[in-house]
């Protein structure tokens, strides 16, 4: 039951609106998120799908919540998370990824990421564990410096690393 969820938190020197764009807009995601982009702009209640730069599928699911940060209220982006980038992981039931984006004062935004509903998905649980740390780190670096982390990691590296 407890191997059901990962929780992460990071502070980024950018506005909540900028962080929100980095999570929900393809122009940003393809620069730090294993080159992935949304096939269609995500919309609340709709299915979504992300693909890699070469067109291979990455993730699909449903956007369950999409509330941008407005007037000091935290932004919430909740998506079910069905992995398509690996045949074994694709067989496991989808999890749920919840982003919360909140002003933390002094020019900082707090990003909390919860990847839950992984109780029946042990391979995914293991696979994404360290991957999210890298994604968050890369997103922070991109927003703060204008460039993502220098090493470009693809999903193959992540899958490989989690298995070794």
């Amino acid at each position: 039951m407890s191997l059901n969820t990962h929780v992460y938190q990071i502070y980024i020197a950018a506005s909540p609106e900028q962080v929100w764009a980095a999570i929900t807009e393809s122009e940003w995601t393809r620069r730090y998120f294993h080159t992935t982009s949304f096939v269609e702009p995500p919309q609340r209640g709709k299915v979504y799908r992300t693909v890699r730069a070469d067109g291979r599928p990455a993730i699909d699911g449903v956007i369950e919540e999409m509330q941008p940060p407005i007037a000091g209220n935290p932004g919430r982006f909740v998506q079910t998370w069905h992995i398509l980038y690996d045949a074994a992981l694709e067989q496991e039931p989808p999890g749920r990824v919840e982003w919360t984006v909140e002003n933390a004062g002094e020019g900082l935004t707090r990003v909390r990421l919860v990847h839950g509903d992984l109780g029946q998905s042990p391979l995914t649980w293991q696979n994404v564990k360290d991957g999210w740390v890298w994604i968050l780190d890369s997103m922070k670096t991109l927003l703060e410096t204008g460039n993502p982390l220098p090493r470009v990691r693809d999903y193959e590296d992540v899958v490989e690393a989690a298995r070794s």
Binding site: M1, S2, L3, N4, T5, H6, V7, Y8, Q9, I10, Y11, A13, A104, E106, L108, R112, V114, D130, V133, L136, D137
Partner: protein, 121 residues
């Protein structure tokens, strides 16, 4: 808690062996309740465990999330990664390059002995 102060908070939190043990417990079993964590430290009061958890939370190393009426504790690896990037990679990289330079010198010096370079790990 914030980027500038985070290093200090993280090092302070990690300086205590009980707090490192708490992180190890969460690493092996993430998402434990306070009661579950306390069972691992029978010699310590509940209040003592809570105090250590609050220091870990201040450093952002432990996050809590509610699941119904249950409050669960999660290990957040992000600050450790940041400290590693800031402090450890930098010096380890220098150490590694020094070793590589030494290795090159040794090999250059022993070329006449036809010694073979060891297989890389």
């Amino acid at each position: 808690m914030q980027s500038v102060e985070q290093g200090t908070e993280v090092f302070r939190a990690l300086a205590d062996p009980t707090r490192r043990a708490l992180l190890d417990r969460l690493f092996s079993q993430d998402g434990q309740t306070l009661n579950e964590l306390c069972q691992n430290f029978p010699e310590m009061t509940r209040f003592g465990v809570m105090k250590h958890l609050s220091v870990l939370a201040e450093a952002d190393l432990v996050l809590t999330a509610r699941q119904g009426r249950t409050k669960r504790h999660y290990l957040n690896p992000v600050p450790i990664e940041q400290v590693a990037n800031r402090w450890i990679s930098k010096y380890a990289a220098r150490f590694t390059s020094a070793l590589v330079a030494l290795d090159d010198q040794v090999i250059a010096g022993s070329e006449t002995e036809e010694s073979r370079r060891p297989e890389s790990a």
